[in-house]
Amino acid sequence: MSQSPEQLLAERKQRLLDAYDLKQPDRVPISINLGYMLARLGEITCQELEANPDKAQELLEKWALYFQPDQIAGIGLFVASPSVFLGDLQTKWPGYGLPPDQPFQFVEGEYMKAEEYDEFIEDPTNFTLRKFMPRAFKELAGFTDLPRFPIVLIGYAGLNFLSRLNLPSVKASLAALEKTLQWYADNAARAQANAQRLNALGFPTGIGGGPLVMAPFDFISDTLRGMRGIFLDIYRRPDKVLAAEEKARRISADAAIQAARTSGAKYVRIPLHRGSDGFMSIEQFKIFYWPQLKGLMLDLIEAGLTPVPFYEGVWDQRLEFLRELPKGKSVGQWQSSNMFKVKEILGDVMPHYGGFPVSLLQGGTPEQIRAYTKQMCEGVGKGGGFIMGTNTAMDECKGELVKVWIDATKEYGAV
């Protein structure tokens, strides 16, 4: 291959954009996120990979050149530091709550009590600052002492109330927050420089990427009520759940639009959790999950953004609902749904990304991988609108098998 990095960059970018536009590219593009697999490849621990962003970038570039995919990403800014600075109780990280060589995990709990729905619905900002943040982040415990900010609405006389910000407890929490914000500032600059380095090597970045928000149901379930809590709530206080979801939808849409306008991102990622087959019934899905998710997606679409829900788990029984989405205005990222059925039902509605089982890339044979890649390229890649990718994190995949998969995609994905 004698193409220059500039030519490769342009070609790969076009290939990806065509697929994301539901068009037929010259071949099926392949976009991978190596995640913690970079630690395995570099023979370092996950903790070392997170702690040493220069090393992480060096490994990413090295393996990008070896694998030659159309787009590649590593762990990026998804690392322990902010969590560690703030004493985050909702996540565990390699070396922080987990052995140094294990990938991060989310720890679900109840951070909003059942009787606190009204408080959240009435004033989400106050609930966030004075209840949620101190509960979820140990170092923000001082926020329980924050003033009621709207008292400033009385003008000059209200300023005196803000002197609560001088309380030692509040000051300590503000200092922890300041440190975290500095980390984000430093690393945003680094991330931009890293993206340019990848571009210079011929790899596009950021296509399909952008701010991450949650479906309204998952917003209330994942980090506030917990799955157990919310599943009881849909029986015990369904109206409260719906009212809280409405708040969550508006907060998420506003936050995503604001973030995308600042960064220039075109896509908004929405990993979906409790709406898939097996968690709730179709009847419950129709009341508590789908209208709110669709509403959020339409808000984003109206703002000119492309939502990229990650349909985690299996969605085979609810694919028909997704036909209600405007054509070509969202992207489907898939985990364990039947990709051939997905293509059949939703081929004209949205482009599809992912779905290749990492189990094959972890323990399969080259023959199995080539055979399934061929099947996917022919079945799901037919007519375009398909981006090859894995069904879940590549953390434990074997390098030689990933290479076989990428090469097979290039071979069988060509038009």
Partner: protein
């Protein structure tokens, strides 16, 4: 049997279920009779889950209703009555080392329990040695390994290998499940079968023990 109580529980009418229990106890109904109605109701819940009428919210709520009823009934029990004397085939269940996901495991535990198995749930992030020890002490027919993260594939394999090394492999049938676990992982880990959901777990356990109900 108090059909009203059974129906209230099975139909997820929490308020009525608790009220009926209170009323029944007030007129002197045997606490054990109420507990037996609860078991009958839970079997219906399990059956509806199996048919795809019920999902996780119903399993959780059913558990909560049980808890509420137990709290009313237990103070009236003299002791000993709660003991389950049935000979149930044994299953040792747990989420493998390195993985703290419990949703799938808990559903499998619930369905095996209402399906007539005696389930020893070892929890999450279960060290390999703990599986081996418990297999030795509990002597189950079935071992069920759960995992959501991809690292669990390796933990499953290591757990199966350790069971083999301890000379216990021939005594147990091993099933795996959760997340993206598939036939490929089953072969890799050296398990006997994988199940894609809790019903598959119950079916496998029945097939292996010719037990349960």
């Amino acid at each position: 049997m108090n059909q009203k109580l059974v129906d209230a529980i099975a139909d997820m009418d929490e308020e009525s279920a608790l009220q009926i229990t209170k009323d029944a106890l007030a007129v002197g109904t045997e606490p054990l009779a109420i507990l037996s109605d609860c078991s009958a109701a839970m079997e219906i819940v399990g059956a509806r889950f199996e048919k795809g009428q019920y999902f996780i919210p119903e399993l959780i709520l059913a558990g909560e209703i049980m808890k509420g009823i137990s709290a009313l009934v237990k103070p009236l029990l003299t002791g000993g009555e709660m003991q389950d004397t049935r000979q149930r085939p044994k299953v040792v269940l747990g989420t493998v080392k390195g993985d703290i996901h419990d949703i799938g495991k808990d559903i499998v535990g619930f369905m095996l329990d209402v399906g007539g198995f005696s389930v020893t749930d070892l929890g999450v992030d279960v060290p390999i040695e703990v599986f081996v020890e418990k297999i030795r002490s509990v002597q189950p027919t079935v071992v069920a390994l759960s995992g959501f993260l991809t690292l669990s594939y390796t933990s499953m394999k290591e757990t199966v290998d350790a069971i083999t090394a301890a000379g216990l492999r021939a005594n147990v049938k091993i099933m795996i499940g959760g997340g993206t676990v598939d036939q490929q992982v089953c072969e890799y880990a050296g398990a006997d079968a994988f199940g894609k959901d809790a019903m598959a777990a119950v079916a496998l356990a029945r097939q292996w023990t010719s037990g349960g109900k």
